[in-house]
C-alpha cells in the first residue's frame, strides 16, 4: 500500500480516504460481521492433528489487496507463458524427452523422481494438456517486481476463498465498490466447467463431469462441495465410483451412470489402489486402466507433480526458452540447487541468510528460514542437508511487499502472496485476481492457512 517514502501508492488512495472517513467502531463492527458470515456459512478448513478445532475458520482480513490494471496485464502474460511451457514440459517428459536429450535438465533428476509416473509414458491426452488447473504462487518484492515462488500443478486449492472473500467484501462494503472499478471474478466456476468439459475423451458430446473428493473430513472439503455446487456437477467419493470393462460409472439412485471427466481433488497416490497405494480407501480400483484406455479424463492429469516439484522449479525459465523460444516474463526466485557441489558449498556458508526448502515439502513445513532461526536450529538443519543434499534447494530471503492488515493493535503491514488460478483447456483463461494469502504473525513470511495465515480479497482494477 505504501511506497518507499511512506506515501500512499496511488491506487490505494481512494481506500485510504474511505478509511479516514469511516469511524473505527464501524470497522470493528464489520470485522465481527465478517466473522459471523463465514462461520454461519461454514466456510471452514479442517486442521489435521487438532482434535478440539477440527473445523476452523480461515481468518479473513477486510482490507483488500489492490493491483492496478497495468500490473495485472503483465502478470497475465507471464502466467500464460509459464503455464504453456509447463504443459509442454509435461508432454515432452512423458513422450520424447527432448529437453533431457538436450542436456538442459539432468535426466536422473526427472526419471528417478517419485513424482515422475512411468504409467504416463507415451499416453496421449486431449490437446496435450496435463495441468488443466494451475495455481501459481507469486510474491512482490523489492521495487515491485513479481517472482514466482512455486507452481502448484497437482491439486491447487484456495479458489473458493477467492470467491467467498469477494462475496463478503461486496456485502460488507458496497460503498467501496463505488469508489473502485474492480474486475469481476465470480465467473470462475463457469470457466472451470468449460475447461473440464473441453478435456473430455474424444467423441463424447455431452460429457458428465464429477468432482472426486476424499470426503467431508478433508481439509479442503468446503471448497470441493462449493465448486461442485457452483458448477452443478456431482460431488463424488471413491466409493461412489466403480470401473467396469474400463468404463467409469457412478452409483446413482437410478443405477450406474457413466462418467467422462473426473476433476479429482485427491493425490495421484490415492487414485487407484490397483495402480498406486494399495491401502488407499479413497480411490477407485481400475481407474488408471480406464484412464490409460482413454475412456475417462482425469484433471489434473496423473503425473503433473514432476513439473511443480521444487527440484524442477529452477529449470522453468530454461523450459520457457526451450519450448517457446521466448524470454521468461515472470522471474524465478534465484535458487541454489544443493545437488550441485558449488551451490551446496555456497549455501552451507550462508545458512543464516537463506531460506532452505525440502524439495518434496509442502504447506510451509520442512523449511529453514535462516535469518529467523536460532544457532541450534541452523546447525541441526545443516546436518540434514549434508546427509542428503539433493533433497534441498535454497533461496535468498526476499524483501517481500506487505499489505495493511487488521491485527489486534489496529492496522499494520503484513506480508502477502498471490495465487492466480490459470485454466488450460481449449484456451488458457484466468479470472483477474487470485487468492491473496497474508501472514498474520508480525514479520512472518509463512502464509499457509495451516500455520496462521489468513486471506484477503484481491482487487484487480478494471482500468
Amino acid at each position: 500500500m505504501y511506497a518507499d517514502d511512506a506515501t500512499v501508492r496511488p491506487h490505494y488512495s481512494p481506500y485510504a480516504e474511505w478509511l479516514a472517513e469511516t469511524p473505527g467502531d464501524r470497522i470493528l463492527e464489520k470485522r465481527a460481521e465478517a466473522d459471523t458470515l463465514f462461520r454461519r456459512a461454514g466456510i471452514t478448513f479442517a486442521v489435521y492433528g487438532d482434535e478440539i478445532g477440527t473445523e476452523r475458520l480461515i481468518p479473513f482480513d477486510i482490507v483488500p489487496r489492490i493491483i492496478p490494471a497495468g500490473e495485472w496485464s503483465g502478470l497475465q502474460r507471464g502466467l500464460r507463458q509459464r503455464v504453456t511451457a509447463l504443459n509442454a514440459f509435461l508432454h515432452d517428459v512423458y513422450h520424447d524427452q527432448e529437453i533431457l536429450k538436450a542436456g538442459l535438465i539432468p535426466p536422473e533428476q526427472v526419471l528417478c523422481n517419485v513424482q515422475y509416473r512411468p504409467e504416463m509414458q507415451g499416453l496421449n491426452l486431449p490437446m496435450d494438456v496435463y495441468a488443466h488447473i494451475a495455481g501459481i504462487d507469486l510474491v512482490r518484492a523489492g521495487a515491485g517486481e513479481y517472482y514466482v515462488l512455486e507452481d502448484n500443478l497437482r491439486v491447487p486449492s484456495g479458489v473458493s476463498y477467492m470467491l467467498e472473500d469477494r462475496k463478503a467484501m461486496m456485502r460488507l462494503f458496497p460503498e467501496l465498490f463505488a469508489r473502485y472499478s474492480v474486475a469481476p471474478v465470480e465467473h470462475y466456476p463457469d470457466l472451470l466447467l468449460e475447461t473440464l468439459r473441453a478435456v473430455a475423451p474424444g467423441g463424447v458430446r455431452d460429457p458428465t463431469v464429477v468432482l472426486l473428493t476424499p470426503g467431508a473430513h478433508n481439509s479442503a472439503y468446503f471448497e470441493h462441495a462449493f465448486l461442485a455446487q457452483q458448477m452443478g456437477i456431482e460431488l463424488v467419493e471413491g466409493q461412489d465410483l466403480f470401473v467396469d470393462d474400463e468404463v467409469v460409472y457412478m452409483r446413482t439412485t437410478q443405477g450406474p451412470q457413466r462418467v467422462d471427466v473426473i476433476y479429482r481433488r485427491i493425490d495421484d497416490d490415492f487414485l487407484d489402489p490397483l495402480a498406486f497405494r494399495p491401502d488407499s480407501m479413497l480411490g477407485v480400483p481400475g481407474l488408471l486402466a480406464a484412464y490409460r484406455a482413454g475412456r475417462v479424463a482425469i484433471s489434473n492429469a496423473v503425473g503433473t507433480g514432476i513439473a511443480d516439484d521444487k527440484s524442477t522449479y529452477p529449470y522453468v525459465p530454461e523450459m520457457i526458452r526451450f519450448y517457446l523460444g521466448e524470454e521468461p516474463i515472470l522471474a524465478n526466485v534465484p535458487t541454489w540447487i544443493l545437488r550441485r557441489p558449488e551451490d551446496l558449498a555456497h549455501v552451507l556458508a550462508h545458512l543464516d541468510e537463506l531460506v532452505v526448502k525440502e524439495v518434496h515439502g509442502a504447506g510451509g513445513y520442512g523449511m529453514l528460514i535462516g535469518p529467523r532461526a536460532s544457532r541450534a536450529e541452523i546447525e541441526a538443519f545443516r546436518e540434514r542437508i549434508i546427509a542428503d543434499p539433493a533433497r534441498y534447494i535454497a533461496q535468498p530471503t526476499l524483501a517481500l511487499s506487505a499489505c495493511p492488515t487488521f491485527v489486534e493493535s489496529g492496522l499494520a503491514p503484513r506480508h502477502v502472496d498471490l495465487r492466480p488460478f490459470v485454466l488450460s483447456g481449449r484456451d488458457i483463461v484466468m479470472v483477474p485476481g487470485g487468492l491473496t494469502r497474508v501472514a498474520l504473525r508480525e514479520g512472518s513470511l509463512v502464509v499457509n492457512s495451516s500455520q496462521g495465515g489468513g486471506t484477503k480479497d484481491t482487487w484487480v482494477l478494471a482500468c
Binding site: 454461519r40 461454514g42 467431508a216 455446487q229 439412485t253 437410478q254 443405477g255
Partner: protein
C-alpha cells in the same frame, strides 16, 4: 443422483424430524406432570417415555433411577446417547455437511446454525426449570428447516429423498407417541368421563399439533376412538399415519427404479390398509397390537428403501 447423496439427504431429514418429535414427546410429558405430580405416576410416565424411544436400558445403566430431570436431560442433551435430541441434530448436520453442495446454501446454513445454537442452552437449567422453551426451539428449528427445504430446493430427486425421510420418520414417531399414550389410557378406562383423562388426551393432541384440528373436525368431546382415528386414518391430518404413508407412497412412485417394484408394492399395501381401514377394527384388534404391526412394516419399508436406492451394489 448419487446413492450416497440420497442416503445423506434421507438421514438428514429423518434426524431432523426425529429431534422434533422427541421434543414433542418430552413436552407433552412435562405438561402432564403439571397435572398429576404423585411421584410414582411421574416415574411411570418417564419410564414409559424412555421405553417408547428405545432408551430405557441405556438410561438405567447410566442413572439407575428415573427422575423427570434426569430423563429430560438424557433425551435432550446426553451426548453418549445416540438417540438424544442433541445427537439427532448433530447427525442431521453431519449428513447435511456431507452433501452441502447438493443443498441450497439456506438449507445448509439453517442446519448448521441449529447445530451451533443448541450450545447456548444450559442443560442444567433446561432440564430442571424451563424445558418448554427448549422444546419450542427444537420444534421451531425443525419447522424452519422444512420450510427452507421446501421453499428453496429444486424439485428434483434430492427433494424427494429428503421428503421420503421426513414422512417415514414421522409415521414411525406418531405411531410411537400414540402407542405410549395408549399404554396408560386403556380404551375401556378412557370410556369414563374422568377429567384427568380429558387432559391426558388433549395433551396428546397438543403434542402432535392436533388439538385445534380435533375441534374443527369433530366439534365434540374428546374420545380415544376419535383421537386414534384422527392420528391414524385422517388423510388431511399432516402427522397422521395415513397422511405420512400417502406421501411416502407418492414419493416412491416418483423415484422408482428398476429394483424398487416390490418396495412400492409394500408401501402401497400399507397405505391401502390405512386408506380403507376402519378404526373399529383397529380397536378390536387392540390398538397397541395394531401399532406394533405398523411399526414393523414401516421399519421393513425403511430397510427396503435403503437397499433399493441408498446402498448401491457394485454392478447393479
Amino acid at each position: 443422483m448419487l446413492s450416497r447423496t440420497a442416503d445423506h439427504l434421507y438421514w438428514m431429514s429423518r434426524y431432523t424430524e426425529r429431534a422434533e418429535n422427541l421434543a414433542r414427546m418430552l413436552d407433552v410429558n412435562c405438561r402432564m406432570t403439571l397435572l398429576r405430580q404423585e411421584e410414582d405416576v411421574v416415574r411411570r410416565r418417564w419410564t414409559s417415555t424412555l421405553a417408547t424411544v428405545g432408551q430405557l436400558e441405556p438410561f438405567l445403566a447410566a442413572h439407575g433411577v428415573v427422575t423427570q430431570a434426569s430423563a429430560i436431560d438424557w433425551i435432550s442433551f446426553e451426548r453418549s446417547n445416540p438417540g438424544s435430541i442433541d445427537q439427532c441434530l448433530d447427525r442431521a448436520r453431519d449428513n447435511a455437511h456431507a452433501v452441502r453442495g447438493t443443498l441450497t446454501s439456506e438449507t445448509w446454513e439453517t442446519l448448521n446454525a441449529t447445530w451451533l445454537e443448541i450450545r447456548r442452552f444450559r442443560r442444567d437449567t433446561v432440564s430442571s426449570q424451563a424445558p418448554g422453551d427448549f422444546f419450542e426451539w427444537v420444534k421451531f428449528r425443525s419447522h424452519l428447516a422444512r420450510g427452507v427445504i421446501q421453499g428453496t430446493m429444486l424439485q428434483d430427486d434430492a427433494l424427494e429423498f429428503t421428503l421420503l425421510g421426513t414422512y417415514l420418520e414421522r409415521a414411525d414417531n406418531t405411531a410411537r407417541i400414540l402407542d405410549a399414550r395408549f399404554e396408560f389410557l386403556a380404551p375401556e378406562a378412557a370410556k369414563s368421563d374422568d377429567a384427568g383423562d380429558y387432559y391426558e388426551w388433549s395433551a396428546l393432541l397438543r403434542s402432535v399439533s392436533a388439538f385445534e384440528i380435533y375441534r374443527k373436525v369433530y366439534r365434540d368431546l374428546i374420545t380415544p376412538r376419535r383421537v386414534a382415528e384422527l392420528l391414524i386414518l385422517r388423510e388431511a391430518m399432516p402427522r397422521s399415519l395415513r397422511h405420512c404413508m400417502s406421501r411416502v407412497q407418492q414419493t416412491l412412485v416418483r423415484v422408482a427404479n428398476s429394483r424398487s417394484a416390490e418396495t412400492q408394492r409394500r408401501a402401497g399395501e400399507i397405505h391401502a390398509t390405512l386408506q380403507y381401514g376402519r378404526i373399529e377394527d383397529a380397536l378390536e384388534e387392540g390398538l397397541r397390537n395394531y401399532l406394533s404391526g405398523f411399526l414393523e412394516r414401516t421399519s421393513d419399508l425403511g430397510a427396503r428403501i435403503a437397499r433399493d436406492f441408498l446402498v448401491s451394489e457394485a454392478t447393479a
